[in-house]
Symmetry: C2
Subunit: 333 residues, 2 copies
Amino acid sequence: MPADKTALRDFIISETTSIEEAMRDDLAGALRENDPLLIEVIEYALFGGGKRIRPLLAILAARVCALQDDSIYRLAAAFEYLHVATLVHDDVIDNAKERRGRPSAGEKYGIAAAILAGDWLHARSMHLVGRYGGQVGLGVFCRSTAGMVDGEFLQLRYAADCEITEEQYFAVIHRKTALLIESTCEIGALFAGADEKQRSALTAYGHKLGNAFQVIDDLLDYCGDRLNTGKKTGNDFAEGKVTLPLIRALKAADDNARKHVVDLFSGDRKDPEAYAVLSRMIDENGGFESARDTAESLIEGAIADLDVFSETDDPEGLAMLHGIARYVLKRDR
Amino acid sequence: MPADKTALRDFIISETTSIEEAMRDDLAGALRENDPLLIEVIEYALFGGGKRIRPLLAILAARVCALQDDSIYRLAAAFEYLHVATLVHDDVIDNAKERRGRPSAGEKYGIAAAILAGDWLHARSMHLVGRYGGQVGLGVFCRSTAGMVDGEFLQLRYAADCEITEEQYFAVIHRKTALLIESTCEIGALFAGADEKQRSALTAYGHKLGNAFQVIDDLLDYCGDRLNTGKKTGNDFAEGKVTLPLIRALKAADDNARKHVVDLFSGDRKDPEAYAVLSRMIDENGGFESARDTAESLIEGAIADLDVFSETDDPEGLAMLHGIARYVLKRDR
């Protein structure tokens, strides 16, 4: 049963409401008697229009493993908390002024408040996973958190390094993005008492989905403006991030073009002209097309990983997992 | 059996060695295949001469509850990890250049590396507590971590506020310092299968010990230089922290002196002359003596809380808990 677009949208709207209710209930208990400013910063960071993809995945992973237990929503909230904690800390690290069209938490409340609010969300996410995800789930979760930090260090290491290999690029994006998505799916499965085959299928699905998600993100950083999405482009170049479209283009390019790219990266990376030249070079060498092909293959693979659920009692849940995977390819921001 | 000074010192040296070995073993496993810079920052932050009081307390709490199980050292490491994670983040927040006579992690490696290394240590501490401290232990631990963040917000709220009450001051130091020490003792007890009476006695001991520890810290921030300890003084005044010696002095002082203090806090708090005037005023109004009396009462209370262990099979462990409590009053840095 393929999910049509309307069914997926309705499902997401209704589940997102339940997820946000669970988050608000949890915060009402956990933040009772806390400093009003702490509460304000946490709420500002959490309720700024996130797509709640991670909680949705945890819920769906549990559903296709045949679970119906409302405390999945509390567990699911943990993945959003951790995701937001990393965004808040990343924005401090990158000195980013904006997030989702609003001032970042650090910009609005100062870096002290932002670092501390991130720490609070981090601790709370562990609390919820420890409570609802069991010891095995907590181990998976903590490994992914630690791995995300490692990914940030790797990214710093490869800054403005045009020699980065495809393997190194995937090592970065796996840690930075895919690990949390993959552990979300895995812990959702564990919560539902999945067997080994189901658990590893969902882990594999999350792994490929997360990688595809980041590849598309890296594409949008170049091509978002062509799609008239209003998404800002050129951030990765400005920050010295060498991503898949460029890696592919460099492979196809001649020595002259390669040398030119190295010069652009060691020059003024905030110059719009330099960015335009780089974009054109990637386009001419097929980098965008090639990166998009890779994202499509990853998504096909992710969907194929779900084949073990062909007999699931919850075909609707399965269709939604397919739908989210396909949505990753269509998203424009 | 009271612990004499030499016995306590020998015990601390030998246990500190075991704790640091456990930390190094744990890191060797957990950081394998991680970015070399991440490993370097973590090791720099962890092995800079900490006193390892928190791990010692976890081990002793477990011992007086009749446990001998070597994995207590792994659990104990978690409390040092979390403590160091908070120090590293606090130094970023306070823009502190030094920590224990060396450049702070943020100063040496930059704030990106420091924030991320703190996050890694935070995640790893949760991992260890989840693994060795059980679900109840993890709940206690996460609540204390979240409470520490709340304490930092409270502290920001009361900055340079000379109207802060004693109750508010204790609310801040409880969250900021005592909560972690108290949960360390509690989780050590839980690990050893303590009964309810033992668990609450150790929690109460940790609570009073932690509060006394911070009261002494706040005293040393004024009086450390008189003791020729080389500890820098005047930081709290510079940062606008109104601590117990001043609160007590303000209570005893006349209106003129009180008004003068308010003026000092709204003036240049880095002026050594202002600090000298403030110190003298606190001294003349008995603030130091009164705060020290409170620390002594807290320590007496902490020792009395341990009476339930008078029949323990490990009188040496009990003597060390007494010794650490008394040490808090004697410490000079």
